[in-house]
Amino acid sequence: MNGLAFVAPLLLVMIGAFNAPILYMLALGFWSKAGGFTTAHYAAVFEASVYLKVLASTLRISLIATVANVLLGYPLAYWMSGLRPTGQLVAVALVITPFWISILVRTYAWIVVLGNAGLVNSSLLALGVITEPIRFLYNELGVTIGMANVLLPFLVLPLFAAMVRIDGRLLQAAASLGATPATIFWKVFFPLTVPALGAGALLVFILSLGFYITPAILGGNRVSMISNLLDKLINEIPRWEQASVISTLLLIVTLVIFALYRRLDRSAA
C-alpha cells in the first residue's frame, strides 16, 4: 500500500484547517481593497508609532521573562540533577504537571497570590516589611511573573536532561587535577550545559513573543503585547489587513528564532 494513502486524509484536513488559512492571511497583507497587489498595509504598520511601541514592549517583556527563567530555571535544574534517581523522578513529575494544567488556572492563581489583599501583600503587611500593598497586578511586573511561571518547565526540562547526560568522570578528572569546586563548575560543568541553556532560553523567548492569556489577565488593559494588539485589530476595531501584516512579521521572527533553536538543540543533543 502506498504511504501517501495513509497520510492523505490528515493532509487534506491540515491543508484546509491550517495551511490554507495561514496562506490566506499572508496574502491578505498584500491585497488592496480595490483588488491587486499592494505594500500599503506594510507601510501603514511601520509608520504607526503605536505598533512600534507594542513591539518594543513585547520584546522587553519577553526578554525579561526569559532572563528571569534562566536565573530561576538553571539552579532548579542543577538541583534536580543532583538528586537521587527517585527524587529526580518525583521532581520531573512535579515540573511536568503544571505544564499540562490549563494556563488559565495557573494565571488566575497569581491574582490570588499577588493581589492587594493577596498572599504576598498580606504577609508582608503583617510582618511590617511594607505599610502599603505593593502593586504587582495590572502592570508589567505581574505579567512578567506570570509568564516566567508558565514558561519555566520549557527551560528546566531540556536543561535537566542535558545536565544528567554530563559524564561525571570529566568533573572527577578536573578535581583530581586540583581544580577547586568553583573552577570545576565554571570551567567544566557550566560550558557543557550552555547549548541546552541557549536552546531552552530561545524556546522560552519564542513562546513569550506570542503570549496572549497572561498579559490579558494579569496586565489588565494596561500592558499590551503583540497578541493583545492582534486581538484588538481582529475583534474590536476590524483592521484585518494590518492584523495580517503584524501576524506575518511575528511568524517570520518566530521561524528565524526557531531555526536557531533547532541548530542549538541539535548540538546540545
Partner: protein, 268 residues
Amino acid sequence: MTGQETFGRRSVSVVGVAGMTFLLLPLLIVVPMSFSSARALAFPPPGFSLRWYAAFFGDPRWMDAMWISSSVALLSSWLALALGGLAAYGLRRTAFRGRSMIEANFLAPLIVPTIIVAVALYLGFARVGLLGTYVGLVLAHTMLSVPLVVMVLGVAVRDFDQRIEQVAWSLGASWLYTMRRVVLPHLAPSAFAAWIFAFIASFDEVIVTQFVAGTYDTVPKRMFNELILEINPTITAVATLLIGFTLVALGLVALLLRRSGRWPASAL
C-alpha cells in the same frame, strides 16, 4: 553530578526548592481557595464551604459551556486520533517523496504561535463561512491536537517491530486482519495516551476558541471572559475541577505508557 556535592550544595538546594515552589504555587493556592466560604480572595480562606461548586453546577451557562467543551473535545480528539494514527503509521512504515516535509507540516501547529493560528483561522474561516460554527470549532481543535497524536504514535509505531507484521502477512493474514489483530492491539496503550493528550489539549484550548467560536462558549472561553471582567470565586471551583481532571488523565497516561514500556520524552 559530582560537582554538585562540592560546589555550593546548600545554596543550590535553597534556590532549587524556591524555584519548585514558585512553579507549583499557583496550583497549591487555587485548590484551597475553591473551598472558601468567603467572596473575597483572602488567603488562607476564612472557612470551609462548597458554595462555589454549588454555584458552578447550578449555573446553566456553565453547564452549557461544559457540554460544548466536552462534545468538541470528544469529537476533535477522536478525529485527531483516527487521522493522526493513520498518518503516523504511514510516515513510519512507508517511504514516499516529501515525507519529512509532510511530517513537519503535521507538527507545525505546535511551533507557530497560537495567536497567529487564531488570526489566520479567523480570517480564513470568515472567508468560507465557517467562522462561529460548530464544525469550524471542531476542525480547529482537531488541527491543534494533531501534532500531539502524530508525535506519540510516531514513537509507538517506530518501536513496534515491523517483522511481527511481516510474519503475520507471510502466514497469510490479510492486510486488514494484520492491522486489526496484530498492529492495533500493540498500539492501543499509546493510542489511548495520545487520545487523552488530544482531549486535554482541546478541553483547555482558549486562544483559537476565543477567536473562532463565535457564540459557542467553552469552559475555558467562559473562564477567560469572566477573568477579564471580574473576579468571581466560582472560577476557583472550575479551576480545581480542571486540575483534578488533568491529574487523573495524566495518571492514566503514565500508567498506560509505563505498562507498554515507553514514556516518550517528546510527549511531555
